[in-house]
Amino acid sequence: MNVEITSLTRRFGSVTAVAGVDLLTGPGVFGLLGPNGAGKTSLLRMMATAMPPSSGSLRLLGRDPGSYGARREIRRRLGYLPQNPGYYPGFTVTEYVEYFALLKEVPSARVRAAVATAIDRVELGDRRKSRLRTLSGGMVRRVGIAQAIVNEPELLLLDEPTAGLDPEQRVAFRALLRDLGQRATVVVSTHLVEDVAAACAEVALMDRGRIVFQGTPGALAARSGGQDPGDTPIERGYSAVLAQARS
């Protein structure tokens, strides 16, 4: 298992964003679903070692990120795309991805090839010399994905990665996710359930800081009672589980 979470809690003052989450996952694409404010981003930020938990146990890639040495080793093998990724508008696509490759200590001899590969995988090869300020929102999001995968991470955490992507790009991105999931643990946080259905082998549904469902997309779809709102079975299952958790 690359992610082992036990009773993980994160509080911001009096607000409990993540309330005692337990989660185990290994290689493959794992979907994290939930409405806005469910705690998905807080959970992902803790998994990315960007924020320490208030309590509970967190082991990533077999290590406890509480110590600096282990945290560095985890980060060496980690990729992270935040929900609202900023960027340096003056950098070109290549420079920006190279910047992160250097920060992630990708071996010098491999930096150029790793950057080119990452850019090609998000299909921005023809824009590699474009400055980020000239790119559309969807392209910038793909640059963010490229920086996250430039070090060929074993644990990839993507927070709303398909926001701003057009349908064609989303289809391509799902294929990329499936490909990445063959070698790494990919955790995708999203509120777009169709992405989960298409790309994820396992999903968890969060609500009010807790995981209220964990299983396959098919199992989630099967929770639908037929009367629940939604256009697809998985959306109806999503609504049914949320309604049940809140009742």
Binding site: M1, N2, E4, T6, L24, G26, R45, A48, T49, A50, R59, L61, G62, R63, Y68, G69, R72, E73, R75, R76, R77, L78, Y80, L81, P82, N84, P85, G86, Y87, Y88, P89, G90, F91, E95, E98, Y99, F100, L102, L103, K104, E105, P107, S108, A109, R110, V111, G144, Q147, E154
Partner: protein
Amino acid sequence: MTAATRVPAASRPRLVGRRPGLALLRLLRLELRHNAMPWVLPIAIGLFWLTTYRKGVAMPPLWNLRAAGLQLGAQLDFAVPVTGAAAWMGSREARRRVTDQVTVTVQPRWARLLAPWAATTIWAMLAYLGCTAVLYGVTAHQASWGGPLWWPAAVAAASLPAFSALGFVLGTFLPGRFTAPLAAIAAFFVLTLSTELIHGSQSYWNVSPIVTGPWDLGPQAGVATFYPFLPDLPIAQVMFLVGLTVALLGTLALPAGSGGRALRMVAAGLTGAGLLAAGTAVGLAGTGTMDAHGMIAIPALHDAASDQPLQFTPTCSHTAIPVCLNPAYAGYLSVTATALAPLLSQVAGLPGAPTRIVQDAMIYQQDAGDEVSIRPRSPGDILSSPVSHLVLPDQTQGQTMTAGQLASTVITTYGLQLVARVTGDGPGASQAQHAVAAALLRAAGGDEVIVTQPTSGPCRGPASAPSTRRSGPGRECASQSVGAARGTPAAAAAERFDALSAPVRHAWLVRHLAALRAGLVTLAELP
């Protein structure tokens, strides 16, 4: 939970192809390419040209003046923009909302932040060094003697990393779009106000990098021309700036999460060491006092060898009495010798006239309060001495005169001194001595020479070079006059004596000078 998962995944090979130094260089290259400093460099260079270069080249081509102007001006021109640019770069991660993305990378926060700071500093330093090279290159082309003074340039250079670090730390810990302009404005006021509390030559505030010497004295052309430049204060200033830089950069790694325990301990150690160095430098600067040569001497840093006069071969004129100047003042020789030539031809060979006129150094003394006394090194001309001492006006006034102003001032100061020496004119002299002195001065300087009765007052000295008292930069009083007041019988006699031809005047003086000096000649006996 699966038991097998308790075994950590194997670490990736760390050494194969991983060269941290090369990676940091590539990071630095990226930061150099995308730094804010090049955008403000035109402003800095423009300010340098406007406020430092133009003023510098308008000053006499003396290394000490140009170096002091560089130290003061270049810091204001470059330190303020670099502070703003560094604050902008320091706040970049927060402004651009990339904090989370970069936080979860492998590089320690310290190394990540040092790259943009270094890039900002390198740009500023390159521009500063270029501007310094131009100013010093022009000075080397114009100066007749001496060489570049590197310590003042080093102080200005050391201030750039310090102000860059200050701005960067402000930007990092207080990120915002207004941080950069506020930091730049703060840097300007910190620099300019840092000298406000200096009273006298001994002050802890002398550590301010824009202090180039005793603050009450202002720029002095004569300083570091006859005696070596004292590096005492610049050493303390560089020590202060380096300490400040190290301490500020150390603080970047102090917050939790900036790195491992060892890294943070190193940072804490560096911060402490930097503060200690800066504090020591402040303490050293506070022990400095103005020495007799117009520079700040710090006992703990002072090299006694610096108190020995510089050895040089003077540049001399071919006038009736040779005028010999310090070679640094060779550019003044022509005007000085031309101004004095008519007078020298009148007095050459007379009893009491010197056979050689040599430029003298000045001696500085801190008086009570902010006042500084300046007097020639030689106490005054001795009649029997074949050497007379000359002080050029620019040596004490610290400003450029036109050739006409210089000639006029040389006549009214040194010319007057020489005439007084030869005729014995001065307080208590006879009317005939006043008249002859006035006539000689008129013959030497024409209508430009203002001849008045000898005055009395605190600034009056013996019949030698003027003594000057300064109370803060630029303020002074100086007076010395010999001759006859207009409308008096002595003035009428002076006009009569002046109307004689030069050979006749000279011949009369050869015959009657001893009697004139003894007060035995009356106005009526003057031809």
